[in-house]
Symmetry: C2
Subunit: 591 residues, 2 copies
């Protein structure tokens, strides 16, 4: 059969594929951006595309539509992320920058028949210490020397000259890239390395999501073969490179002038970034290829910053406790405490750290993406139109990101809603929606929002009148998703406390990491039983502490050493081998 040529708008990218391939795979092959959080299972409905020319026209689900001829396809414009201010912990930590790289201005002697020394030898003479010039520095050297009268600026990493720039470029600053690769979102920060200032930040969706919203789907895709692993690797590298370009533009420099990078991510993202086969992460005993810090060159990782830029991928602790958790440990000072601190990072996985004097315990729970708004009927990311706060009295009140009509609900809204629904009795402690007789104690204004019965029951948060379209509601199934997530996290916390030999009352502090942790209501988290009972004032949101860890690692050799030590020191508790976990899980399913 003839191959099919597919053109994607608005990017105008073309790709040629075999007939029978799904439109999603064709789009993946073309490298165009689109969403597909359910990983091609045809359930989330978010990969809709419009076929403009072809055998049929109209809207299709890209993951279900198999191409059989040439097509012109339009991908609906993604919602622009609302810049909801991310709570970073910058300022929480004081740091002496010591990035391990530096810029130095040199005046080099010009050549002559009396000094026939090579460009490299004359440069090293001016540098006045033994060093090795990397290939890219050698390639730039002859022109750089002769552009501004043999005045050059070198970028040094240890005893290696990474780069040579013409003239005095010291004042322009020395830049590095900190990256936090989430399963859903990738955040990049451009940091000036001598002063430690974050110059610009940008985020983008992790386009690996077309192969599934969760790490297991991605592992399954990668396990199909080297080509599929490479697809995933290329996509995340592409996202980072686009962010780099964006950051470079905003700072008025070129991505080639980013001379160092530090990256945090979970262990699966780590393996996919480096092209390491993640297949043995999925089944017990959950073995990573490597946990130690990986130091490679940008070029080796395919990153479009300076080819010789050192890239530090922070160490992992275990298959499901990754470099992102190590980033949290480093940025919150948990690698060495003289008190008892519990830290919880709620994402698709819930990573939990218990820091005690001389000890560091970690575990991971497969919480699922419920708290990120995924696999929730009206769930959405924390962007314009998302209900982010909910209060239930005689009526339901809520706050919407961007002050627009509500379109859906994000994680913090979901948690608020569940906690409130439980508090007022819409939800029973076993998680069942109160319907019929069991709802009779509720005021009419609330009771009328409960629709259907049994597994089909739902609770309306925003009516069609309020939204100007479909209502926003939580279903019984949504509540079950949240229960499973909450039960897993809480059970993990309990097992870790037991391992550490401390009770909730012994905890001096509970840290909530991650963007989600910054927005949830402490009382809602306590109210729904996500956290053990501690006084609310002991709970502190530390924002994107993983990303802050990446910045610290970028800026300081000491921080990198702390990351290495933290990962080595951590006692990982494998919950699946711990019978207490199952018991606690079942116990904490209830509200």
């Amino acid at each position: 059969m003839e191959k099919c040529r597919i053109s994607f708008l608005p990017e105008k990218v073309q790709v040629t594929v075999e007939p029978g391939v799904t439109l999603m795979m064709a789009a993946a092959e073309a490298g165009v951006e689109f969403e597909g959080p359910c990983g091609g299972r045809g359930v989330c409905g978010k990969c809709k595309m419009n076929i403009i020319e072809g055998e049929t026209t109209g809207q299709v689900l890209a993951c279900q539509y198999k191409v059989s001829g040439d097509l012109v396809v339009e991908i609906p414009r993604q919602e622009v992320y609302l810049n909801r201010k991310t709570a970073l912990t910058e300022g929480d930590w004081e740091i002496e920058t010591d990035p391990g790289i530096s810029k130095l201005k040199l005046q080099v002697e010009p050549p002559s028949l009396d000094n026939q020394k090579s460009d490299a030898d004359r440069l090293l003479q001016a540098l006045n210490r033994p060093a090795k010039l990397r290939l890219d520095a050698l390639r730039a050297l002859p022109q750089a020397l002769r552009a501004e009268g043999h005045a050059v600026t070198v970028v040094l990493a240890g005893d290696e000259v990474l780069a040579v720039e013409a003239g005095d470029r010291v004042k322009q600053g020395l830049y590095g890239l900190a990256v936090d690769i989430g399963t859903t979102t990738v955040v990049g920060s451009l940091v000036e390395l001598t002063g430690g200032k974050t110059v610009a930040a940008a985020s983008a969706g992790n386009t690996q999501n077309i192969f599934g919203a969760d790490v297991i789907s991605r592992i399954q895709h990668a396990a199909k073969g080297p080509k599929e692993l490479e697809q995933l690797r290329r996509r995340v590298v592409q996202v980072i490179n686009r962010l780099s370009e964006k950051l470079a533009v905003s700072a008025g420099i070129a991505p080639r002038e980013f001379y160092q990078a530090a990256i945090v991510c979970n262990t699966t993202m780590h393996h996919l970034l480096l092209g390491l086969d993640p297949r043995y992460l999925a089944p017990a005993p959950f073995i990573p290829v490597v946990t130690e810090m990986v130091e490679i060159e940008a070029r080796e990782a395919g990153l479009g910053i300076h080819p010789h830029a050192p890239v530090y991928v922070l160490p992992n602790v275990a298959g499901y406790v990754g470099a992102d958790t190590v980033g949290v440990i480093v940025s919150t000072g948990l690698y060495n405490v003289n008190k008892s601190v519990l830290a919880v990072d709620i994402g698709t996985n819930g990573e939990i750290v218990l820091a005690l004097p001389g000890r560091l315990l970690t575990c991971s729970t497969a919480a699922g993406p419920a708290f990120e708004g995924a696999q929730i009927k009206c769930g959405m990311r924390a962007q314009a139109g998302a209900i982010e706060k909910v209060k239930i009295e005689d009526k339901v009140s809520y706050e919407v990101i961007g002050d627009v009509a509500p379109k859906g609900i994000c994680g913090s809204g979901i948690m608020d809603a569940i906690a409130e629904m439980f508090r007022v009795g819409v939800l029973e402690s076993n998680g069942r929606l109160a319907t019929g007789e069991r709802a009779s104690h509720l005021p009419e204004s609330i009771r009328e929002r409960i629709q259907g019965t049994g597994p089909q029951a739902s609770f309306i948060l925003a009516t069609a009148e309020e939204t100007g379209g479909d209502p926003v509601y939580l279903t019984q199934k949504d509540v079950r998703e949240v229960q499973l997530a909450k039960g897993a996290i809480r059970a993990g916390i309990e097992v870790l406390l037991e391992h550490g030999g401390v009770s909730p009352a012994d905890l001096d502090e509970v840290l909530l990491a991650g963007a989600f942790g910054s927005y949830i209501d402490k009382n809602s988290a306590l109210g729904m039983g996500l956290l053990p009972m501690v006084p609310p004032e002991k709970i502190r949101a530390v924002g994107n502490a993983a990303g802050a860890g990446a910045k610290l690692a970028l800026l300081s050799r000491k921080a990198r050493q702390q990351a290495v030590e933290a990962a080595r020191k951590a006692e990982h508790v494998e919950l699946s081998t711990w019978p207490q976990f199952q018991e606690a899980f079942i116990r904490f399913l209830n509200f």
Copy 2:
């Protein structure tokens, strides 16, 4: 205007170019192999191609023909090189192999829920010493471990694990690649690194030659811009990669199993291989970008062997005394002598080394390619059909490579012919061919071979009857080319001797390096005045001593250190700044 699509046979490679581009550039773009030693000046006639389909058909000079439409072009098959045995100096040197890399078999503990250590950690535990796993080793690790029950073979370079192979692969041997990049020919050798044995060797033309036969033409092309430099870089890398594949096939392994490489070449080839701008090599003061040994990874150089294989590009001494000369110094033991040794490597450039106790002097002369048969009317490479030896008595007798009818004359034949022509009086001491009256002393059988007069004079070595086609002859211009080459080399020798404060009588040994040096008649070389008068028994051919140096560097860390020290120690005499050189040059133009 429409672009033109050019198909090249027999390779069946297609390329699309702008109209007006020469057929040679189109062929260069397509990456097909062909010869063009004059660099597109339309004088050597060696880039003939047959247009089979197109606006015109028939034979054209590719460098002169500008394409204006689609074409199908056949490139005449190149002469297959006759395997004239290359005199290698193997056996001349005794060596304890110490390549700096090794293979080690390991039995790694399998993972379990009781040992959740990463693959890397368990490997390092079995290795029982601290080491860093390179990215490619990490990528191979999970499958390699699980393929043969966690038995693996690692390739170690210092404290780095370069590669992991499944099972016990120690007995299969450990392989490396030695390369000698000549301006004209590239020679690759596959060496087993533990035993030091050369397993296979192969050579191919340096396809950069379409941009000119000599280094100056190549520098001029590279100086046009980064694209042109990249063209040259890519071509030589391509040649090395093809040789690697050929060598791998002959040894029954994959090029990925070559775990180290050492390369010698002249300074221009060195810069082009590494993508370093060579433009400042050409004009005084002849400045290289770098002279120190360059150690890079195969991947970084674009070589298709193991991506992390260390590649040692031997150091240069100066702009026109390259790593090939350092290779000669290392393989002949000249880096440290207790006698006086002169070494001459005759190629397109004549590099001269004078080794004295505690000293090493070098210089380079732009001899031109006359001794390689280029720019000589009937000149050809040392392959089947080339006259390689000439004797003139009452008649002219000669030996032809491959015992076939003569087609041309190669370097050793040219030198023999010139020496004999001078000896019997066909040539006068000023280089003029004896014609008319001045030939009257010659026997009729010789005199009748002198044709034309003045600048148009020539001397027939093989008649049309003998060749069965065109006669093979030397022209007055050819003699002038040889005179210039010989004068330059001899003058260089004299200046170097003067610098060293020794006379020809003080020399204990004169070494002739290079393939050419192995075949020339000592008496001819002395007879024509190429070498100073020393007893013939002091003259020794050392074959491809530069290539032997590459092999030594591949096999021994000590040899690499000697190369580094030799290059640093060498006192380079820049002939252009030395007035005595001009005097000596003019003096030694005469026979």
